[in-house]
Amino acid sequence: MEYRVQLDLFEGPLDLLLYLIKKNELDITDIPIADVTEQYLQYIKMMKDLNLDIASEYLVMAATLTQIKSRMILPSPEPGEAEEEDPRAELIRQLLEYQKYKEAADSLLSREILGRDTFVRSVPEETVVEPEGPGVEASLFDLLDAFRSVMKKATDPGAGEEVLALEEISHYRISLAQRMDEILLLLSKAVEKYPVEQGIPFEDLFEGEMTRAFIVVTFLSLLELIRQKLVRIFQMELFGRIWVRPRLAPINEPEPEPPAETPELPLFPLEKPAAENPVEPAIAPPAPAETPTEPQPPAEPQPTNEPQPPAEPQKPEEPQPSTESHSSIEPAPPPEPQAPIADSPAPEENSEVPGKVNEDPETGSGTQTS
């Protein structure tokens, strides 16, 4: 999992550079590159000393700066054609472009913002999370249940051809992007079949090849479509049949590509979950979804404007050893706590939560008026 602590003062290397330029009251179009480079590297070093994970973009910029600096020092090879472009030109252009949008962001921020300065009769959140169409939103668990039953049907020992299909898996390549397009197309066509709901039953997505790979890819594609808010899944009653419906007008008619001529976009390691144990990767997700409920503490620092990064990573360790000690009652307690810390997901889970919280206060300070 990728997780990085960002110095919340800076949004990126360009932001840091702009900051240095402002701080030193420099002319952005005529940056004394040697000075700026040195200061920039000092900041990078400081971040390193603080043990912050430095985003790779910062290092790339450090390299760029150093390169520009060296090019500035070198005399131009042929004095005759001295009209060589300023080595800084590209960087300056980039900085100006970035600054332009930074200012645009400021001017947006200075407007009367709904939910901050001005309010409407209905709660803004309502318009943001609009309950659209009939039925209730199906939960992830409903989806997983439905997925499991499709999978069960496909791998029913009664049907012999599935075993055959399993062997083909390693050669089967279909990208998520491709399958997502296919699903959207399917949905847009389904309007004739199910006029009222303007969607199709969940199981219908899996019509066709009932191979594990196909089912898994289809399911993952569906999850991705949900994540991107391109489809909505709902039930007419609780625990009822799951329906899938497009959220937008179908986007730019994808040409239905035959899945056979494939891999222009080999996306994710699809084969892996499909080949090894197709059910488990899908079942796994709920576990992390459940756990975040218990590390509440990080949520509290929200109101304070101060970012409070890793709240108390120690806390979740306490319950861990106790559960672990049930299984192995060895007379060597000291080394034991080590293990649960290492492989229990809790600390990592925890480290992510403050990350999210971390963004909020920073926002708060930026957005909120007192």
């Binding site: 472009e97 407007r111 709904l114 901050r116 001005t118 409407v120």
Partner: protein
């Protein structure tokens, strides 16, 4: 019908709708009143609310419609009533949103280049907050997604439409 009554109907309609009500909808709701009258009265109403800064509400044109909104100076009290959560947007989100707003339809890679950092996570947040939406896929290698802003974006920043975005400062050479 006398103007005062038309104004009353408009107020009632805009108040109950909650979401911005377009002129078209107002006209449709008042079939026996000439559209021109409705437009005139509507404009007068907007002016009238503007001229009374001591009143709590403003009638504003936003996202292609009209809506009653509270005046900014009363925000502290509204917030104290605690019915509504203050809007929160991180600096990174705001910058990214600005780039998408001005450059749409735009690919993630273009946003990355302008910001100088990877912007996937931020765009995801904006998608979740319904400020940004996927417009489709670009017909180039990899068929990347292209992004644009939503009507909610206009509503939240109080913009009539995209042409009313504050003008960008041009880059001087």
């Amino acid at each position: 019908m006398e103007k005062g009554k038309i104004a009353g109907i408009i107020e009632a309609l805009v108040f109950t709708a909650g979401n911005p009500v377009s002129v078209k909808e107002l006209i449709a709701a008042m079939p026996d009143i000439p559209p021109e009258d409705i437009r005139i009265v509507l404009e007068e109403l907007v002016q009238e609310y503007q001229c009374h800064p001591d009143r709590g509400l403003n009638l504003v044109e936003v996202a292609g419609g009209y809506q009653f909104r509270t005046r900014a100076e009363f925000a502290p009290w509204v917030l104290r009533l605690n019915l509504q959560k203050p809007a929160r947007l991180s600096r990174a989100s705001l910058e990214t949103l600005a780039i998408i707003a001005y450059r749409q339809p735009v690919m993630k890679s273009e946003v990355d280049v302008i910001r100088g950092v990877e912007s996937g996570g931020v765009i995801q947040t904006l998608l979740e907050k319904n400020l940004v939406r996927i417009l489709g896929r670009k017909d180039t290698v990899g068929r990347p997604l292209i992004y644009g802003t939503t009507p909610e974006f206009l509503e939240i920043f109080g913009l009539k439409d995209l042409s009313h975005l504050p003008t960008l400062k041009e880059i001087e050479e």
